[in-house]
Subunit: 216 residues, 2 copies
């Protein structure tokens, strides 16, 4: 379903690989650090050394942001920070809706770091009537029945799933039906989505399983 959209999405993503996209926030945090020490300019070689990468890879990744380096000195640290933020869309605020105002959901509603990554959770949804109407870290909790309507009205594209595992697929289906095309899934369930919908899973259960296994 929605093959046309998928094709368009694929083409857009092809301009930068997922690993490269994942490295840009890493460069950004390093650049912020060197910027705070007063450094004006920086070379790819220097960034590469610090982050255990190759200069060629760093140069290629940075080229995606369309910034121009200066001969000999490399890049202006400040300009490079801005270029990465622009490229990653951190300057814009990308609004998201969260479903599941439980323990983890509430924690994420108060996680201010999301704003630095260009993401703003504007409201939460839950099926538990006791939670509906409450405010968590300044964000209102709405009845899940209103999700589709609010998502479409505000044209929100990003959904965050923090419900229990057994509701994950159902919530994902509802999100997709409502027009959500990017999902951050905090449940251990591998959710199925149609073409054109991007899912990123944060699987704490799996990460912990690997750590515990390693110490036994």
């Amino acid at each position: 379903m929605n093959k046309k959209k998928e094709a368009a999405g694929d083409a857009a993503l092809k301009t930068i690989s997922e690993p490269a996209l994942k490295r840009l926030p890493l460069y950004h945090q390093y650049l912020k650090k060197v910027h705070s020490t007063g450094m004006q300019d920086i070379s790819c070689t220097r960034i590469a050394e610090e982050l255990n990468l190759t200069p060629i890879l760093v140069r290629k990744d940075i080229a995606y942001t369309s910034i121009q380096g200066k001969p000999k000195t490399g890049y202006s640290v400040e300009a490079l920070i801005t270029a990465i933020e622009d490229f990653l869309g951190w300057k814009n605020t990308n609004e998201a809706l969260l479903v599941g105002a439980g323990n983890l959901g509430n924690a994420l509603l108060g996680y201010r770091q999301f704003n630095e990554y260009g993401l703003s959770i504007i409201a939460a949804f839950d099926s538990d009537k006791a939670k509906v109407g409450t405010t968590v870290h300044g964000k209102k909790v709405f009845d899940i029945d209103r999700f589709e309507n609010i998502t479409q009205r505000l044209k929100i594209k990003i959904g965050i799933i923090t419900v229990s595992a057994d509701s994950a697929q159902e919530v994902s289906d509802m999100m997709v039906r409502s027009g959500i095309t990017a999902i951050l899934n905090f449940t251990p369930v591998k959710i199925s989505v149609p073409d054109g919908v991007t899912v990123q899973q944060v699987n704490l259960a799996s990460s912990i399983a690997i750590l515990i296994r390693s110490i036994e």
Copy 2:
């Protein structure tokens, strides 16, 4: 450094692949769901169908837990749940220490789901004197200077890093020096650890970068 330990660790991990280890929590949550509906027995084929996997893969994964299937009916749902929990060490409590009692750290201190995954955060550490001595979700915040001593005294092997990106490597080094061999890293920094130390990274910045890029 510590080559001997690495070799032992590698051998232990070889008994089950990382992808297989990541799938076991998924089976577990599905089995809990079917168990709650009253189902007594289940086949690999049924699990595979539900989770979009192949029956052969599911059978191989489950074999790691050493459970015996029954001809025709498959596995007892209840016995399989217990076998997976035993294998993953969820029945034991694996104690962990958290460094960085900020916004995210505090949220994780209150994240009760960790207990279901066999992990118990018993204390937090911070360098901010204003936080030291406070209690967050029932867990005490200690001065970071006491980390090494407490870790060694209690023989803790798991550390959770929720400091800001620019302190991540420093905290990781301190953890390793203190005897931590399994690290859950919530910063965007790719930390360097010696052989024999297992790291799992939860990189929210990267996941969000990919989602935002996909909607543009």
